[in-house]
């Protein structure tokens, strides 16, 4: 008798008790449920919530693996143990065992804490409320380790995950009812609660914090951080595109994010409308800033010069903008639902991200705040799109009847 049969039996045994949701969750996570719909017409589709979530996770795995290698690479590079990558994306300086070991050692605990704590909260709520455990945390749990700095203390992550899942999601009624993206709620909580661990030039490379003030101090400023202080970025654009730069764990490689985006669009899980319009929005805002600099309105003495003079397309490959657009902005729950709404929603995310980036160097990662802001406005956008549509059709109706 296999595990599946055992789970079936346990499920029958605990039916109607408080523990039932917990068993059901494990069971349906691992196997197809042994129940079929009994009556009524219903939609046949293979992609239930769980499969949707798993597709996104598959799209995230390359970023996670790259993040592990990058964690070790940045560490060894900062210590001077190895040379910078020289031969393109598949350089042996990057893809080697030493780097991976550091990455595994630092990143896996983040993943485990994120999933462990998040799912525990979901289980507790499912038992109190007596509903099935919802799959909503599967993607969030994967996103969270990818958008935090490598050295974030695990207890901070624990508190943030509890906060994000309870305040960001459960109080609104659980998966599908949340207004804000839970992963970004978690990151925003960390950002405002423990700013010293979430920004600055000491948190992006493993080991930098504990070396502060010592002779072997290392520093890994992100590109956005350097530019905000009007220093040169110090990386060429291919490095930025491939992702050999300091940053949050999994958001550095625009190349892999692009692959993930294509996969999400191909599998029709992520909305291409949001992605395209967000990219367009970011490019337009970047272009406006470039024009302002070209026109001589902002000169090198201005504190905005560094970020404003950045080539407009480079905004897409530095910082978390690409990651945010592909994996966060497209969250089907918190994004706009209507097609026209998605264009507006995405465009404003890109537009506002670059705007925040440039004008508020204290919040280097504008994309987090931009997406949270647009999450709040998404229902409003939908409302006006739908009302506009109704009005248009009412007009048509009147013409006919008149």
């Amino acid at each position: 008798m296999g595990l599946k049969q055992n789970l079936h039996k346990l499920k029958e045994k605990y039916k109607g008790t408080k523990m039932a949701p917990a068993f059901n969750a494990i069971h349906t996570f691992l196997y197809l449920p042994n129940e079929t719909t009994h009556s009524g017409g219903h939609v046949r589709a293979a992609d239930d919530l769980k499969r949707t979530m798993n597709t996104v996770i598959m799209a995230l795995v390359p970023c996670l693996i790259f993040g592990m290698f990058n964690a070790g690479y940045q560490y060894h590079l900062a210590l001077g143990d190895i040379q910078a990558v020289s031969s393109g994306f598949f350089s042996s300086e990057f893809w080697n065992w030493d780097n991976l070991v550091i990455g595994l050692w630092k990143v896996l605990p983040l993943v485990i804490v994120s999933y462990g704590v998040g799912l525990a909260v979901e289980f507790i709520f499912a038992m109190i409320k007596g509903h099935e455990v919802e799959e909503g945390y599967l993607v969030t749990g994967m996103l969270v380790p990818l958008i935090v700095p490598i050295d974030i203390p695990l207890w901070m992550l624990t508190i943030a995950v509890i906060f994000g899942v309870v305040i960001g999601k459960e109080v609104f009624g659980g998966t599908g009812m949340n207004i804000l993206n839970p992963a970004l709620t978690i990151r925003a909580f960390l950002f405002f609660a423990y700013p010293t661990w979430m920004s600055g030039d000491k948190v992006w490379v493993h080991g930098a914090v504990e070396r502060v003030g010592q002779p072997d101090a290392i520093s890994g400023e992100t590109i956005l951080g350097s530019l905000a202080q009007s220093n040169p970025a110090g990386y060429d654009w291919l490095d930025m595109f491939y992702g050999f730069i300091p940053g949050s764990v999994g958001e550095t490689s625009t190349l892999l994010i692009l692959l993930g985006a294509l996969f999400l669009i191909y599998s029709k899980i992520g909305s291409w409308r949001i992605m395209v319009s967000a990219v367009v929005g970011a490019l337009i805002m970047g272009f406006i800033f470039n024009s302002v600099v070209d026109a001589g309105i902002i000169t090198e003495t201005s504190k905005f010069y560094g970020l404003m003079s950045t080539e407009f397309w480079q905004h897409l490959i530095i910082g978390g903008l690409a990651f945010g657009i592909v994996y966060m902005a497209t969250d089907p729950v918190t994004a706009s639902q209507t097609n026209k709404g998605k264009w507006i929603y995405g465009f404003l995310i890109g537009f506002i991200s670059v705007l925040i980036r440039v004008f508020n160097p204290a919040y280097p990662e504008g994309v987090m705040l931009a997406i949270l802001l647009m999450n709040v406005f998404a229902p409003t956008i939908d409302h006006y799109v739908i009302q506009g549509n109704i009005k248009k059709r009412m007009k048509r109706l009147k013409v006919k009847t008149a």
Binding site: P153, W155, M156, I159, I167, V171, F189, F192, A193, Y194, P195, T196, W197
Partner: protein, 215 residues
């Protein structure tokens, strides 16, 4: 309670829990968000409102039969403003540092919705003794929430209580800080006050289902 009749004691006790001005009526939120980053400020604010509302209710109640109803709001405003100026001056005279810390928010007691609300809803229609009890009760209900919020925000945000470093010294790394604990800066920002008030509302309503509104 031998001193108070059952009806009277209800006036004081109800606002403390099931008819709390902040968590049930959702009034006076603005000051609850603004000044609760420190416990001391919360306590001073609670006492100030207690004074203004207690005395104000009595004054309005005494005058209730001679106030022309057309200008009653103006009369109420004058009464609150007078009392608030008294509080403000007392604080400036005896606790200058604190008064600087609370700055404009003492003056803004005038706009605290709870005060005008109680004047309108209670003092205009009841005798001075009952109005006094009602004022004290509502101000206490307001104060309790303020102190709870202030307690958590100061403890988690600054690691202190009334200025005492109860969790150890964050710079010298003693106490909790020696094992890597850090203050939660988010607690010092107003959104967190809103979230704590929300959590209190949540706890209160899940303990007493009768409070949950139907819609």
């Amino acid at each position: 309670m031998g001193l108070l009749s059952k009806k009277d004691s209800k006036l004081i006790l109800d606002p403390l829990a099931d008819d709390n001005p902040i968590t049930i009526q959702v009034l006076g939120i603005c000051s609850a968000l603004a000044i609760t980053a420190q416990l001391k400020a919360s306590i001073v604010m609670a006492i100030s409102v207690l004074f203004v509302l207690g005395v104000g209710n009595v004054v309005i109640s005494l005058m209730r039969n001679i106030i022309p109803s057309k200008i009653r709001i103006i009369v109420q405003l004058i009464v609150v403003a007078t009392l608030v100026i008294i509080v403000d001056q007392v604080l400036k005279a005896f606790a200058y540092e604190l008064s600087k810390e609370l700055s404009v928010f003492i003056g803004l007691i005038i706009t605290n919705c709870i005060i005008m609300g109680r004047f309108e809803a209670f003092a205009l229609g009841n005798g001075p003794w009952r109005s006094f009890l009602d004022g004290i009760g509502n101000a206490a209900g307001y104060g309790v929430i303020l102190i709870i919020v202030g307690f958590f925000r100061e403890l988690l945000g600054s690691g202190t209580l009334l200025g005492f470093k109860v969790l150890g010294d964050p710079i010298a790394k003693t106490g909790l800080y020696s094992i890597g604990y850090e203050n939660n800066g988010f607690m010092l920002l107003s959104p967190m006050a809103l979230i704590i008030v929300g959590l209190i509302i949540w706890v209160q309503r899940s303990r007493n289902k009768a409070l949950i509104e139907e819609n």
